[in-house]
């Protein structure tokens, strides 16, 4: 309600401002228009005055001619005939004429013959009410004695006459006789000359009135025969006001507004003509001609429409922005809450393992004598530390994601190792939760790929660990990895599908599941450790690799994630792997696995037969044995429904062939059944999923050595006697690594920083060190520079000694930096001794090759 009121107010204020602006524009325009019109009126008045001067000059000029004639006539004692003859001689204007009429008879002679006659020059003014009263004719030279417009009795033309009194000699008696001399000019001719300046006022017209308002000369727009009657016909005025107005018109200079016969508003400018008997010059023009239309209604209309559109547009934009801002505010609040919740969670999640570490450390310190307690505490501390490390890594990753600094560091890697690592990492949780786990690999032909192994690993682990985490004990998690042809040249398409029967996700959560700091609100989820960052990081990484991630989930039923990535194939692949022709029996209740294994064996040159259970396998092996065509090797699944792998081996050994090579396969961790399997006669172990290379190597190894027991996994004999130079400035870290290495029979020597390390290498005899573990951030000289210096040493041995980074700089770009500096590998702190040993072995193996 308040918002509606506020919006209404905003609209009203906007409308008010708009209207105020328009009103101002209109009023200002009107004000300017009126000012401009007033200036035009003044200009019109001034032009009228100018016209008056022109008129006066003209009238005086014409009167002067008449005066000259009259003076001459009076001075020469002429008869009317003589006078007319004189005027005919001096007359030059073709259309003008002169009349001389006796005052007593009002008849006389004209200088021009009557219309239709050539010799009749008589003229009479007797019937014209013009000369009955000649009091308006003043003495010669005293004034302009001009008549009103009248009909020239000689030719019928409307004319005016300049008059003077003259005295003639009567031709009969010779007595003086008073007469009037009229210099007659046609009005038509006068009107042609006597026009308002057209360039200034196109429609202006001139008139001249006498003191009674009667027109002397009448413009076209002037109606009636009298100005005052004309005025009264079309303008309302009472008698007194009319008297005052007409007095003003005939006695002063000015202008007034009046309506013409069309009802149009006009300006009538008036000014008295000097030297006449109360005559007034009038000029008349429609008001519209004087109004400078500054009121550009089109402009005003355009501005109005523009303002309205602007207003509506602004309103719409503001509303949209408001909605977006509200949404953003909600999102920000939500994000803020998520961050707060996240920090709270982080605080909780960090403090929990920290509490375990600190608490257990304290307990251990007090129970150093109790070996079992110490052992158990240390195991728990290790678990807490691992979890803490994961948390820290996730936080760092998401921070990089948010800052857009997440980059890929491609390198050649083995997808087999990646999958093995994936399986290994997931095994503890699977075992702990007793989850049915299947990992199937379909057609993995390219073992070595070129990509960011760590990020790929991270994607796969995140999805798989989520599946395991959110699948309740007794549930099922299956992983399918397939290699397909990629539309991208030089790439293979890896499809990674993780399907679980976990708690699933709500549709609402699925909309935001890739957003950082989001975790599904679920009582079951809250009991599960997690940062809420895994999926966000995963999505970002998949996007960064140009892949797709798809999720199908139903709450309570499970979730299925599908990740599709196109990854370049590495230049280097393993050579052709071919086994000698042999018969192999694959025993597994999982048909897909059996088929995959059979296909792999066939591709290696072997002939595979399949058995779906231990009993069937036993029978087939027995039959073969009887026929003397023993299988060359049996690949047997550990977990089968009726007779499991262990029992099947035991029965094979007992009932058929104690020496038949048997490889036991499983997707689970070996540790629990390792001893027992060895006891019953398993020749080796093969982790699921099966890869062509691992299968090839394992079969060759078993058949080559014909070993009867598996290779001791914790045999450090190959490491004995190794010497490793460790560049580490931190005493504790040095102590940890040196102790751990010592536990595996490896001798370690310390270099306190990069410079010392380089010096030691310079001075060391060839073969003094098998390997260097190089910290990166060290005083005096960092690990990268030290590596570069070592690689630059003259001694071939020194310059080529394997160098493994051992640093807390764990990002992929750090790894890339290390490799670019000339190092051979990278181990992130905190160190996992297994990884360290594995890396040492890998390095040693490469060195051997």
């Amino acid at each position: 309600m308040k918002n509606v009121v506020k919006k209404t107010w905003v609209i009203l204020v906007n409308v008010f401002i708009m209207l105020a602006m328009l009103t101002f524009v209109v009023l200002y325009s009107d004000f300017e228009n009126r000012k401009s019109t007033q200036r035009q009126i003044e200009h019109f008045e001034n032009t009228t005055i100018t016209m008056k001067h022109v008129t006066e000059n003209y009238l005086e000029g014409e009167q002067r001619i008449c005066d000259v004639w009259a003076r001459y006539i009076n001075s020469e004692d002429l008869t009317i005939e003589d006078a007319v003859s004189f005027i005919r001689i001096s007359h030059v204007l073709p259309n003008a004429s002169a009349h001389i009429v006796y005052l007593d008879t009002l008849s006389g002679l004209s200088t021009k013959a009557r219309q239709g006659s050539t010799d009749d020059y008589s003229v009479s003014y007797a019937r014209l009410d013009l000369l009955n009263d000649v009091s308006w004719i003043n003495d010669i030279g005293k004034s302009i004695n001009i008549s009103r417009a009248y009909t020239n009795p000689v030719n019928g033309e409307q004319s005016i006459a300049f008059c003077n009194s003259v005295t003639l000699k009567d031709p009969g008696s010779g007595d003086p006789r008073n007469a009037i001399l009229l210099r007659v000019l046609p009005i038509a001719e006068l009107e042609e000359k006597w026009i308002f300046p057209r360039e200034k006022f196109e429609n202006a017209e001139l008139s001249m009135i006498d003191a009674d308002g009667n027109y002397i000369i009448k413009g076209h727009s002037f109606k009636n025969s009298n100005l005052f009657e004309f005025y009264k016909s079309y303008n309302v005025l009472d008698a007194a006001a009319a008297q005052e107005l007409f007095g003003k018109i005939t006695s002063s200079t000015g202008s007034l507004k009046m309506r013409n016969s069309r009802g149009e508003e006009c300006i009538l400018a008036y000014t008295p003509v000097a030297a006449t008997e109360g005559w007034t010059l009038l000029s008349f023009i429609p008001m519209n001609d004087l109004s400078v239309n500054t009121e550009n209604w089109l402009l005003i209309g355009f501005i109005s429409v523009g303002l309205l559109i602007l207003f509506i547009f602004d309103l719409a934009v503001i509303l949209v922005f408001n909605k977006r801002l509200q949404a953003a505010a909600r999102e920000a609040a939500s994000a803020n809450k998520a961050k707060t919740d996240f920090l709270s969670t982080m605080s909780h999640d960090i403090r929990t393992p920290m509490n375990a570490i600190i608490g257990l450390t304290a307990i251990t310190e007090k129970n150093l004598g109790d070996t079992n307690s110490v052992k158990e505490n240390l195991r728990k501390i290790t678990l807490a530390s691992d979890h803490l490390l994961t948390l820290i890594n996730d936080i760092l990753d998401i921070s990089k994601v948010e800052s857009g600094k997440l980059n890929l560091s491609p390198q050649t890697f083995s997808i087999v190792e990646t999958v093995e690592n994936l399986v290994n990492l997931s095994q503890p949780m699977i075992k702990e939760k007793n989850i049915e786990f299947n990992f199937r690999v379909i057609r993995m032909e390219k073992e070595y790929l070129y990509g960011d192994r760590l990020r790929l690993n991270q994607i796969y682990i995140n999805i798989l660990s989520n599946a395991i985490k959110y699948t309740e004990p007794g549930g099922r998690v299956s992983v399918d990895m397939a290699e397909e042809e990629s539309p991208k040249e030089g790439c293979v398409r890896l499809t990674y599908i993780v399907d679980d029967t976990g708690i699933g996700m709500t549709p609402e959560y699925m909309k935001t599941m890739y957003q950082p700091f989001s975790r599904q609100t679920d009582s079951r989820v809250n009991s599960i450790q997690g940062t809420g960052l895994g999926l966000a990081i995963t999505k970002q990484m998949v996007d960064l690799m140009g892949g797709t991630i798809d999720c199908q989930s139903e709450q309570g039923k499970g979730t299925k994630f599908t990740v599709v990535l196109d990854i370049p194939v590495a230049d280097v692949q393993r050579e052709d792997m071919k086994l000698d022709p042999m018969d192999v029996l694959v025993v597994d209740d999982d048909e897909i696995f059996s088929e995959t294994a059979s296909d792999l064996l066939k591709s290696l040159g072997a002939t595979a037969e399949r058995a779906g259970s231990g009993t069937e396998a036993l029978e087939m092996i027995a039959n073969r044995h009887k026929e003397g065509r023993d299988y060359r090797i049996v690949i047997l699944d550990l977990k089968m429904p009726d007779v499991d792998g262990i029992e099947t081996i035991a029965r094979i050994r007992a009932e058929v062939d104690p020496n038949l090579p048997i490889l036991l396969t499983s997707a689970y961790e070996w540790s629990d059944i390792e001893e027992k399997a060895k006891e019953v006669g398993a020749n080796g172990f093969l982790s699921k999923p099966l890869f062509r290379s691992t299968l090839y190597d394992k079969i060759n190894k078993i058949l080559g050595t014909e070993a009867k027991s598996v290779e001791p996994e914790n045999d450090d004999s190959d490491l004995q006697g190794m010497r490793i130079l460790i560049a580490e400035d931190n005493d504790i870290n040095w102590e940890i690594i040196s102790t751990l290495l010592d536990m595996h029979g490896i001798a370690a020597e310390r270099a306190e920083n990069g410079r010392v390390c380089v010096e030691k290498m310079k001075s060391a005899a060839e073969g003094s060190y098998d390997l260097i573990f190089m910290d990166i951030q060290m005083p005096e000289m960092n690990g990268l520079d030290a590596t570069k210096n070592i690689r630059a040493l003259e001694s071939p041995w020194a310059s080529s000694v394997p160098i493994i980074a051992m640093t807390a700089d764990a990002f992929s770009e750090n790894i890339t930096e290390c490799l670019n500096a000339g190092m051979n590998g990278h181990i992130a702190k905190p160190i996992d001794v297994k990884l360290v040993i594995k890396e040492i072995r890998r390095t040693k193996e490469e060195e051997r090759k």
Binding site: L128, Y150, P153, P186, F230, S233
Partner: protein, 428 residues
């Protein structure tokens, strides 16, 4: 209620259709220019009127169709005498006032020679819009002039005064006498008034002329005698002259009071507007000045009243409506821009424009729409038997001069009725 609404809607619908239909009819009657409307030229109308604002208003309306045609009205001095000269001169008008008496008058042969035959079908003038009795045709059946106003004779009646005094406006001679007596009893010394100083437009003529013409109308032989100024026709003036004498003798008219009116036009009107004159005898031409002078009269402005122009009820049946042309327009066939001149005439000679012009001028319209102006409405009620068409009868101007002088002199007591009758044809 529903029925009422339905009926109302139906009426509205019908009215809408009717108004639409009416509009379309009007549109078809509208003037449509037949020449290039961008034509630029001058047209002059010459006349004897001092001013002619009603015609100037027509100019303005014509300019709505032809904005570049400049029309002007020019008053000619000594019109009747100067017209021939003007028509032959350089400043010849396109249209000029003309009168029936000019036709056949040898003094005006030159004038007549300039007149165009307005009945020429190619001109497409709508002469039918004019009352047929007002159209005059010459011996060759030509129409050389068309009336734009008509003239009649009667009296201005102060209707409010009659109402106030409880007296009915008289429509017969008897009623007139009774009304005058009643009014006189109420203090109106001269219930009837009029101009009396000169014969021109004097009330005596205004009273006598209709009666004389009506008498002649009943006797064609007498008309011929009268037109020929035969003294024998004098006897036919007797009823009219006695009527004048009777009004004065019966004190319907106080001559002294009438003599106070100094001119036959403005003063007549202003005197009537004083408000204390029940009946003012005058010609229709005088009535034309009433509208403008309403505002000029302080008395009328202060106490306006309703008035009308009615026939003078000089017979037992009532008064006569003398229907004669007042001003007629002739087209100068030798003028410049003759096409546009005829176009203007085609524009003017329509019911609409003639009525409009008559309304502005407050003269009797020459069209059949007499009742259009409420002032002249009483003449619209006069039956045809008391309507006298002077043009049809063939009343000539010398005849009118005789009755005018006779009536004036009898009225003023300068001649007896017998003397006046005996002097017919010799009165000046």
């Amino acid at each position: 209620m529903k029925k009422f609404i339905c009926t109302l809607l139906a009426i509205c619908t019908l009215l809408t259709f009717a108004s639409c239909g009416g509009n379309s009819q009007n549109e078809t009657a509208e003037f449509k220019p037949s020449l290039d409307t961008k034509t630029s030229c001058n047209i002059t109308v010459a006349g004897s009127y001092e001013n002619f604002e009603a015609l100037e208003a027509e100019f303005d309306r014509f300019n709505e169709f032809y904005p570049n045609v400049r029309l002007r009205y020019v008053k000619l001095d000594d019109y009747n005498n100067s017209l021939a000269t003007v028509l032959a001169g350089n400043d010849k008008p396109n249209i000029f006032f003309s009168y029936t008496w000019m036709i056949g008058n040898s003094n005006y042969d030159q004038v007549s020679a300039h007149m165009e035959d307005l009945s020429d079908p190619s001109l497409k003038l709508n002469l039918d819009c004019i009352r047929s009795g007002l159209i005059n045709r010459d011996a060759e059946n030509r129409v050389l002039m068309v009336p734009v106003f008509s003239r009649t004779y009667g009296m201005l009646v102060n209707n409010d005064l009659f109402k106030r005094e409880g007296v009915a406006v008289p429509t017969t001679q008897a009623e007139l006498m009774t009304a005058c007596e009643t009014l006189r009893g109420k203090g109106y010394e001269s219930p009837m008034m009029g101009y009396s100083l000169k014969s021109s437009s004097c009330f005596m003529y205004t009273v006598a002329y209709p009666m004389f013409v009506a008498t002649l109308a009943k006797n064609p032989e007498a008309l011929a005698l009268a037109n020929n100024l035969d003294p024998e026709a004098g006897e036919y003036m007797r009823p009219a002259l006695e009527g004048v004498k009777r009004l004065i003798q019966n004190a319907c008219i106080d001559l002294e009071a009438c003599d106070a009116i100094k001119d036959n036009y403005t003063q007549v009107i202003l005197r009537f507007f004083e408000g204390d004159v029940p009946m003012m005898i005058c010609a229709g031409d005088t009535v034309s000045g009433t509208k403008k002078r309403e505002s000029q009269s302080a008395a009328f402005s202060g106490a306006p009243f309703d008035y009308s122009f009615a026939p003078i009820p000089m017979t037992a049946d009532g008064g006569y409506f003398i229907d004669s042309p007042s001003v007629e327009f002739a087209v100068n066939k030798d003028c410049d821009n003759l096409d546009m001149t005829n176009e203007f005439m085609r524009f003017l000679v329509t019911n609409k424009e003639l009525n409009e012009m008559a309304s502005v001028k407050r003269l009797v319209t020459p069209t059949a729409d007499l009742a259009r102006d409420s002032v002249y409405a009483p003449f619209g009620k006069i039956p045809s038997e008391r309507t006298v068409l002077t043009e049809v009868l063939g009343i000539k101007d010398p005849l009118t001069a005789q009755i005018r002088v006779a009536a004036f002199k009898v009225g003023r007591g300068e001649l007896t009725v017998d003397e006046a009758v005996a002097m017919y044809g010799r009165l000046e």
